[in-house]
Amino acid sequence: MIRACPVADLPDGEAIRVVAPVPISVFHTEGAYFAMDDTCSHQDASLADGWVEGCFVECPLHAARFDLRTGVPTCLPAKNPLRTYPVVELDGVLYVDAPQQLDATG
């Protein structure tokens, strides 16, 4: 598990980038928390800087959209899905259920 931030630091509509072996973003939208790989699968941009609307985030660089529930892109230019992770709330702190170190498959 990777510690993200206190619940209070992530109001609805916001996103935060979490330092992890592969950067992960935690999004708060539609009353729920979602965690997904932070780097757009198209080109180098941080999705935590993107535009969150419903259960989707739009990349700030080229406007690719990803479904936060599945990591699947819903439009070009992104073609490949991103990994999603469970988010756990414990004593007012959000955690991402992701390995703290890269495994052999990266």
Binding site: D49, W51, L61, L76, P77
Partner: protein, 380 residues
């Protein structure tokens, strides 16, 4: 329509083909491309490709499966020579009797008159250009001069700097990028060169290139000579419209089209760098010359082509980005009116600026501030 030909197989051409299929066109689709390569993404050519972080295979705009899914006839390495009505004549003398035509022929990098015979003089537009430039840089030229401090020139200068070359940028205008960003913010962006120790000379034109078979330097209008074994010319793009001579399609610095990217002939649409369309936001004809326009225009233009008349307009605000010296510049809308810093500090090379006309925000410029930029861009 039974047969539609898309002329040009870069971003705007590929997106047009994809839109045609997505919007239900199930007839014969022919894609004609002068370059021999499958569609590839150009923006990385002046960035990570020059730096060797990406290779040609990384630039593919669509997978082999996606391309096969288009169920199209590909005529790569073939140029369109003439258009008569909606019938194309290709460089291999074959004809395509189409019912609809998408013009997506893009542009050609402008060169300096009288420099064509000199080795070591480059432009950067195509993958082949980028391969040649990357190879030339790897050979370790003593002295690189970049002519033109627009975005391509700036990115090339940045890449050369990152690769450890001694670079000089020469720009004829007193302030680079002033036409797009206005003088104050143009100066801020162009200031990245000097901040990184790259020499920039502004307000001075190029009188000519030195050398007999290979370039040895650049002579400026004021008589200064700058030694250089490698020169990159980044002075803009000329739209590829010569093949439309005699077609009846109106051409004036681009293919003239209405606000829905439809030409004088409703069976011929034009998209991407080649089209000069009537921009509803600016109230005049513009050529966008940016990646985003090439991705967005086809949905509108194809809809109009299939409808047989203009039923939709292309009215999204323009957007482009540029990566230089580790900084990301993003711009949307138009750089007219009053420019104001609304966040950050240009001196720190991290800021957001807006352009306002009256009370209305008409443009946004940001350096290394993607989150705020995105919010302001959405409000345009």
């Amino acid at each position: 329509m039974r047969t539609i030909a898309v002329v040009g197989t870069s971003l705007a051409g590929l997106r047009s083909a994809q839109e045609l299929r997505q919007q239900g066109f199930d007839g014969k689709l022919v894609l004609v491309g002068e370059e021999p390569h499958q569609p590839y993404d150009r923006p990385p050519l002046s960035k990570d490709f020059l730096l060797g972080k990406l290779d040609a295979d990384d630039l593919a705009l669509a997978s082999a499966e996606d391309l096969a899914g288009l169920d199209a006839e590909w005529r790569l390495g073939t140029r369109a020579e003439r258009l008569s009505g909606t019938t194309l004549t290709l460089s291999d003398e074959t004809e395509i009797a189409a019912d609809g035509v998408v013009v997506a022929t893009g542009g050609t990098a402008k060169t300096l008159a009288g420099s064509g015979h000199l080795a070591g003089v480059h432009t950067l537009r195509t993958l082949d250009d980028a391969v040649a430039l990357r190879r030339a840089l790897a050979a370790g030229p003593s002295g690189v001069v970049v002519i033109g401090a627009g975005f391509i020139g700036a990115e090339v200068a940045s890449a050369c700097w990152a690769l450890g070359h001694e670079v000089t940028v020469v720009e004829a205008a007193p302030v680079p990028l002033a036409g797009v960003l206005g003088a104050p913010l143009g100066a801020v962006c162009a200031g990245l060169h000097g901040h990184h120790g790259v020499r920039m000379l502004t307000g001075v034109g190029v009188a000519g290139l030195l050398g007999t078979s290979a370039v040895t330097g650049v002579r400026l209008a004021d008589g200064t000579e700058i030694p250089a074994e490698l020169v990159v010319v980044g002075v803009g793009v000329r739209p590829n419209t010569a093949w439309l001579t005699g077609s009846g399609i109106a051409v004036d610095d681009g293919v003239l089209a209405d606000s829905g990217c439809v030409t004088r002939n409703p069976r011929v649409i034009a998209v991407g760098d080649v089209v000069r369309y009537q921009c509803p936001r600016r109230g005049r004809r513009v050529r966008a010359e940016h990646w985003t326009a090439a991705t967005e225009q086809p949905a509108v233009a194809v809809r109009n082509l299939l409808a047989g008349s203009t039923v939709a307009n292309y009215e999204r605000p323009g957007y482009f980005w540029s990566d230089q010296y580790g900084r990301r510049i993003q711009f949307a809308g138009v750089g007219t009116g009053e420019a104001r810093i609304v966040e950050g500090d240009p001196g720190e090379r991290k800021f957001v600026a807006t352009y306002t006309e009256g009370e209305r925000v008409v443009g946004v410029l940001a350096m290394d501030s993607p989150k705020s930029f995105t919010r302001l861009r959405r409000a345009l």
